[in-house]
Amino acid sequence: MNDNYVGRRVKRTEDPRLIRGLAHYVDDISLPGTLHVAFVRSIYAHAKINSIDTSGAQSAPGVVAVYTGQDIAKIGPVPCAGALPGLKVPDHRVLAGNKVYFVGHPIAAVVAVDRYAARDAVDLILVDYEELPVVTDVEQAAAGGPVIHDAFSDNIAYRLSSGEGDIDAAFAAAERTVKQRILHKRLAPIAMEPRGVLARYFPGEEELTLWSSTQIPHLMRTQVALMIGMPENKLRVITPEVGGGFGSKLNVYAEEALLGWISMQLAKPVKWIETRRENIQATIHGRGQVGDIEVAFKNDGTLTGLRYTVFADLGAYHQLLTPAIPTLTGLMLSGAYKIPAIQMNITACFTNKMATDAYRGAGRPEATYVVERGLDLVAAELNMDAAEVRRKNFPAPSEFPFHTATGLDYDSGNYEAALDKAQAIAGYAELREQQRKARDEGRLIGIGISTYVEICALGPSQAMPAGGWESATVRIEPTGKVTILTGASPHGQGQETSFAQIAADELGVHINDVTVIHGDTGVVQYGIGTFGSRATAVGGTAVFIAIQKLKEKAHKIATHILQADASRVAFEGGKFSRQAAAAASAAGTSEPVVPVAEAPAGALPEPETEGKSSLTLQEIALEAHIAKNLPPDTEPGLSATYFFEPKNFTFPFGTHIAVVEVDRETGDIKFLRYVAVDDCGRVINPMLVDGQVHGGIVQSIGQAMYEEVVYDEQGQLITGTLMDYAVPRASHVPNFELDRTETPTPVNPLGVKGVGEAGTIGATPAIVGAIVDALAPFGVRHLDMPIKPENVWRIIKGH
């Protein structure tokens, strides 16, 4: 590559429209005659529906239709793609049948001429509920008690054990062990833009278009087509601008299928925009695990075994990946360490709450958290430094690909280098010294460290429910403009910029001449979508390889037109040139990029290729389309498609160090410093990477100190608005000191690993570790999140 754009902090092409308020989100799309949908949602966590009286709503002004569970019986169930042995899958439909099983469960849909009439009519619908006993505690759900789904005999959705090595022997022979119960409370993803769907059916053409704020347009299209009985190739899904997803929109929701179906019934456009209250009730939650971590180790700190026995709170039914998320936890229980024996035992249960599913990290933050807390406990037991006990158990770079006792092969890694760098930036030894002095003065300063590995760039299709490849089509238009169609579906990550950087360097064109198109199944070839930190590693690789195919073809055309020997034609600086023999190979010279000339007004010019010694890519593109002088057996056009199947996941890693001070009087926690050294392999745009790390750390701060979705014993959602659910603000967040190491992955030719979730995975244990370390003088070894000032005050007060 000409490293002209890649590796540089190129400003995002997405930003001007976003900042100026000119982008189009679902709610910005106005179609004439659009009807609006509002939902009646259950206010009980578990109840029979004896009857629904919709007569008041049906006769209310402006109401066009009211639908309930009986009307939608032919719409297929909300899909679950997690296939696990013995998995119980409740038949969950887009509207409740004779039972509701979580607060927020949609019961009826009102369709009216505007939002106001729809909302007013919702209040006129009378539901006769008969309350049933509520199950909210996941451990109690496993033990017995009221069964939520009549089709099953208990609330256990599945049990699964995984891991390699003789775990029982490891614990039996252990010199020491530690055990700790750990809670991961439910979190709400709180994307800035809640969900929304606009559906338009054309009865003449029998075509349905769905605009939806989704992360997976193609996968959603396939599923919704099956659900509503629409031929897949007559359903078009468009993602307009999406205001964040964080995994919560990696899904197929009832409202998507239902809106499509309603539009077909009424032959009118219909729109639904989620309110924030609906978003907290009825968009998937993240995390939701409670379990015991046990670590077996030697007196010198060498780890010999790790076991995690966990109850997973799946909620009342499955969304797309609900049952699969806890299994991802199992995959990463080796962390950044050599652990010969690992076991995970999952009991996954139904409860009367909203379904859990993927939320930034999707099972891996839970793994890193319990492993890192385990390492801290080992350090505390042995009175060893938290960093040193970790370093001792790292695999060396020469040991990669590193096979873990969870069945994975880590691609590449240099964990010590990241740890060294982070410690150097933090001045770790000085920090510990300052801590000693501060403790003598009675100040409570804590230092927390996390050395994490995470699994991303999902992934090899064998391991993925719907395939794990990604697609790209790269075209060079007759005027030389470059168009990239990516199956990835960015919703804030910035691939319109980073893919353009890759293409611009590879093709020697100006970055402004590259357009990246995504999120429209009518335009873009089938793709898997954006989640699991995969867009650049998998999608970007597809773009890169497609471009290589394009270059091969362009080279062939150039060779033919230049009437030269193939080995004498080289591509550099956007041009194919006839080289003298000695200079036939060119690599890494710093020729300036040739900007694309503006296309002349009027007709395309005749290519002037007589007697030339070089051809620009644009000239070749024109030749390819006009097709008067192509080599034999060469198709016209200049376009290449590639579906990249990765052979492995990738494993970014890093070290985070947090320093906090606790106010003895009030229990308030203040950050003194936050250092993060992350290694996501090759970096295409450092600004995008920094942004991902920032966002990930902030969501970790949220989990560690502020956020929890709370249901009371009756299954009432108590944290129903942002007045109670505390998403971190800028004032809650310290300045980040960020740096990187760069250990490319051999899994893809770009060397890129992925970084979207790494911050959320690596930061939480460093933050909690720091707070626990601050309270170490009180004998504290663990605290559950979110750690609030009152929790801390009670500990200090108790002494």
């Binding site: 209040d123 209250r277 009756q714 009432q716 944290t719 129903g720 109670d724």
Partner: protein, 174 residues
Amino acid sequence: MKLEGTHQLEAARERVYQSLVNPEVLQRCIPGCERLERTGENTFAATIRTGVGSIKGVFEGKVQLENLREPEHFRIVVEGKGAPGFLKGSGDLDLAQEENTTKVTYSGDVQVGGTIASVGQRMIQGAAKMMATQFFTCLGAEAETEVGEPPPQHGFFRTALRWFSGWIKGLFKK
């Protein structure tokens, strides 16, 4: 959420008990109770228009009296459902005669659901205490009225509430 407290009424225990299980008194004293119609021996259908400040709603539901042991004990269950959500309150009341006064000890449970539960969590305890105070203030006035006199006026309760609420508050414990 648990709610407990005691209230001293300047009336004999029997008179207090009679007031407590008298549907006309209950209708006047359950805050905002506009309608209380007998549907069974000790059950009533109720319409309750209540709230705090500008947060108000109409709740349709029922009131039930249970475990009646005159003049010392009974249990009241109030349930209502409306646009703001649903509420369920139940309370065990014990009456003890102390010279010329009756000590009413109240121990109960309040559950809310729907919108009020999901947005109003921080105020539910305060609202429940306030309504319990209103109820007992009213009840006190009713019980202290001589038999045959007209019942106290609605406006009285606002004033009574202001006078009593500060004092009564101190008697309530969590």
